[in-house]
Every structure is written in C-alpha cells, then in structure tokens.
Symmetry: D2
Amino acid sequence: MVEFRFPIRVYIEDTDAGGIIYYVNYLKFMERARTEYLRSLGYGKQAIFNSNLMFVVKSVNVDYMKPASLDDELEVTAKAIKLGGANMVMEQLIFRSDELLCRGEVKIVSVDKATVRPTRIPKAMVDAVREQ
Amino acid sequence: MVEFRFPIRVYIEDTDAGGIIYYVNYLKFMERARTEYLRSLGYGKQAIFNSNLMFVVKSVNVDYMKPASLDDELEVTAKAIKLGGANMVMEQLIFRSDELLCRGEVKIVSVDKATVRPTRIPKAMVDAVREQ
Amino acid sequence: MVEFRFPIRVYIEDTDAGGIIYYVNYLKFMERARTEYLRSLGYGKQAIFNSNLMFVVKSVNVDYMKPASLDDELEVTAKAIKLGGANMVMEQLIFRSDELLCRGEVKIVSVDKATVRPTRIPKAMVDAVREQ
Amino acid sequence: MVEFRFPIRVYIEDTDAGGIIYYVNYLKFMERARTEYLRSLGYGKQAIFNSNLMFVVKSVNVDYMKPASLDDELEVTAKAIKLGGANMVMEQLIFRSDELLCRGEVKIVSVDKATVRPTRIPKAMVDAVREQ
C-alpha cells in the first residue's frame, strides 16, 4: 500500500482573510487526491456513481502543523492504512516540498446506493488497493 | 414587485487573502436571498425540487462597487424586474447599511425536469411575484 | 460551560452531487457557530483581529452520523470542553430537530500575531467561557 | 492576443444537489485560468501581491449554455479582449471537448495598494498581454 501523490496549486479561492489557506479547504484537497488515487486504480468517481455502491465519509481527523499560502505548490498523498470489510481508512499528508503542513485520516464506508447500508468493498478494489 | 431584503453576516469562510469578501461569494449571498424570497412566496427549494420543474441560472451580471469585510452585516435584496413566459430576471443589491456594495442581475429559467426544456412558469407563481 | 446553539439553513451552495450536504461544509457551519458563540461573550472576530492575538485551528475531528439535505434547518452547538493555557477544545454538535447528524471536536490555539507563537488566552475570555 | 487554455477537472466539491456543477463555481475556474495566464506572462499572483498594485474584479458577466458534471475534464480559456489604461476585460470560455458550456467576461482594474485608486497597468504587462 504505497503512497499516491497529487500536485495542487493554491488559488485565491482557497485563502481567507488571515492571508493563508482556509483550513477547511485542506479537506477538499485531500478529497481531490483520494479521487485521483481511486481513479488511478480504475475506480473513477463516475464509475463509482454508476455502480450500485457509493462511498461516504464517516469521519475525518486532521492535524494542522503549518499554514500554506497563495500560489504555493502542494503535494497531497493518499494511502490506505486500514482496510475493513466495508470501510477503509486513508492517511493523507499535505506537503510543500519537504515540509509537512497537514495530516489527515479519513474513514470512508462503502454503502449500497438503494438501502444506504454498509456493503462489502468489491474484492477487485481491495486487491487493487493492496497491490498498489 | 417590491423588494425583498435578507440579512447575511460575513464569516471567515467568505473572505480571501486580500482581506475582503471573495467576490465570487456574493453570488452565493444573492442565491440565498433569492431562495428566501421564493420561499416567502410559498416556493421553497424543496417544494420546487419536488415538482416537475426546476429553475436554472441562465446568466449573471454583477458589478462590484465596494468590498465588504469580515463580520460585516449585509442586506441582500431580491426583486423580479422582468417576467417572461419561462424566465425571470431578478435584480439583487447588496447593502451594508446605506452603502451599495454590489449589484447583480440574475436570469433564471424554468425547465421541465425530465426534458430539461424551458417550460412556462406556473401562473400561481407569476401571480405571487407580481403581487408581492 | 453550557451549550450555545446557532440556527443554520442549508442552501444549494452547501450540497453536492450526492444530493446531500457536502460533508466538508459542516466544518464551515461549526465555525459560524463558534464565531457567534465567541461574539456572544464579547469576542467578535473583528475584535480578535484587532487585538494582538489570533486563534488558529490546530485540529478537527468530525464524526458523521446522518446526512442533511437541501433546505434543512439545522442547529449547531458550541461548547468549550477543555481549556488549557493557550488552547481550547470546543465540542460542536449539529442537530436537525432531535437528530444528531454530526459531532466535531475543534482545538483552537491562541497565538501572538507578530510571532505566531502560542500565547495565553486572556483571563477575561477564560472567565467568560467558564461562566457561560 | 491569442487564447490561453487551462485544463480543470470537476470534483465533488464543485457540484450541487442538482447533480451538476454549481454555476457559481465556474467563476472560480475562470479565475484559476486567469491566474495561470498571468503567471505564464511572468505575473504570478505572489508577484502581484508583492508589488505596489493589485487587481480587483470590477464586473463579471456570465452566460451558461450547458451544464458540466462530476469528473468532466474542462478547458478554460483566458484572453484579453480590451485593454484600457487601468483596466482589462478578459473573455473566458469553458469547454468540454468542443462543446462551449459557459462564456464569461471579467473586467479587472489595476489599483494602487495603498490608496486603492485605479492606477495604470505597467507597460511591461500591457506589452506582454499584447504580444501573447
């Protein structure tokens, strides 16, 4: 379960009156990286939306170490650090060069679209995550 | 077609690194006021979502006069200034006390949900807008 | 340290293609409630911005129980559950009537604006939080 | 004054409960493309923030033709179509392959940071825009 890295540029829309990135927006960056990670495994969002399951975010835990600023070039990682039957915990780190700015853990759960009940993550996807 | 006024407080989420409101967010404020205006006429968003038509935004034209800042208390107006068969142009002003900060014109079109084709705005709604 | 409650209406800007509130946006709602809580104690954001200290978010932990939808009327609480020398942990609950949709813990740290080093929360503020 | 093109992927954060991109967010996409266009001419946002002038958005006019959806790959153009002493009008088109989804005109004004008064766009920048 190696680390996936995705580059993100900071735009004015991401900042706040404190002159730095609005801390809430790091969660959007993490989701972009997660999305691209899953797409790289063959599970694009559209593919997931078209299947009979979907992923919902169950919890997020984020620690903020250092702020990022306008125009910064960041790298956001995505790595599965726990794989249960119907859920997966992703660790997501945000770097500016070698500096770690922010660390998140995001728990996502696979649910059936019709019933919205937890449902087993498809084996092919589990295998893809494990091999990656 | 009198003016509807809706109060909005500026939070840190609305600002940018320039220290003022991020100009794009005024469009969200305008939509909140439009939504509350339609709700006041008996057309809450949920009601609209549950009917067989929906409204889509066709164009927006916004002039920015003065910036607003964190914590400001604004008032956003909504007033239909044109009513066609399937569309409506709303004028929306954003004030801080007596100062006009921003003026927008938003054209919305009533479309059939199934076909996404323009469809006549229901007479009851037209009447409600006219009388208001 | 009683609970403060703040009403928030869900608008289209808050939703996502899943048809529910985009989970990241609950963090904005929590900040609105925190801001209003501090304002109710005499510490409006502007007042804080004008002083020589500011508050930064150090960590957020959020559990999502049930989704909210367009047009829902929510109530967001803010309550200090831990008060250190330079930091404060707030518990924030989001309700739709009696249903708990979401629970967050947000740790904020008081820092000196010039040095960005942690600095003691003013005694008057600690007292205000305690009495509240 | 040729056209600059910038690719943008649609993420869940960009969508709304209608299942499409929230129309307000196209303005963010346009600003990203404008920012990259100016950077390509040697005027990165940080460079502008560090100079004694800044650019403010004076007006936006946007026409929406067709909606974009989750996961779509868009291209956003930026082209100066008018260059005054202190202002510039940019035309910005949003495409999905050959389909034009949205067209915007954004007027930006160069102002002195200290006085916030309109100030002449530097000749080097005007030349860079003209030659481009």
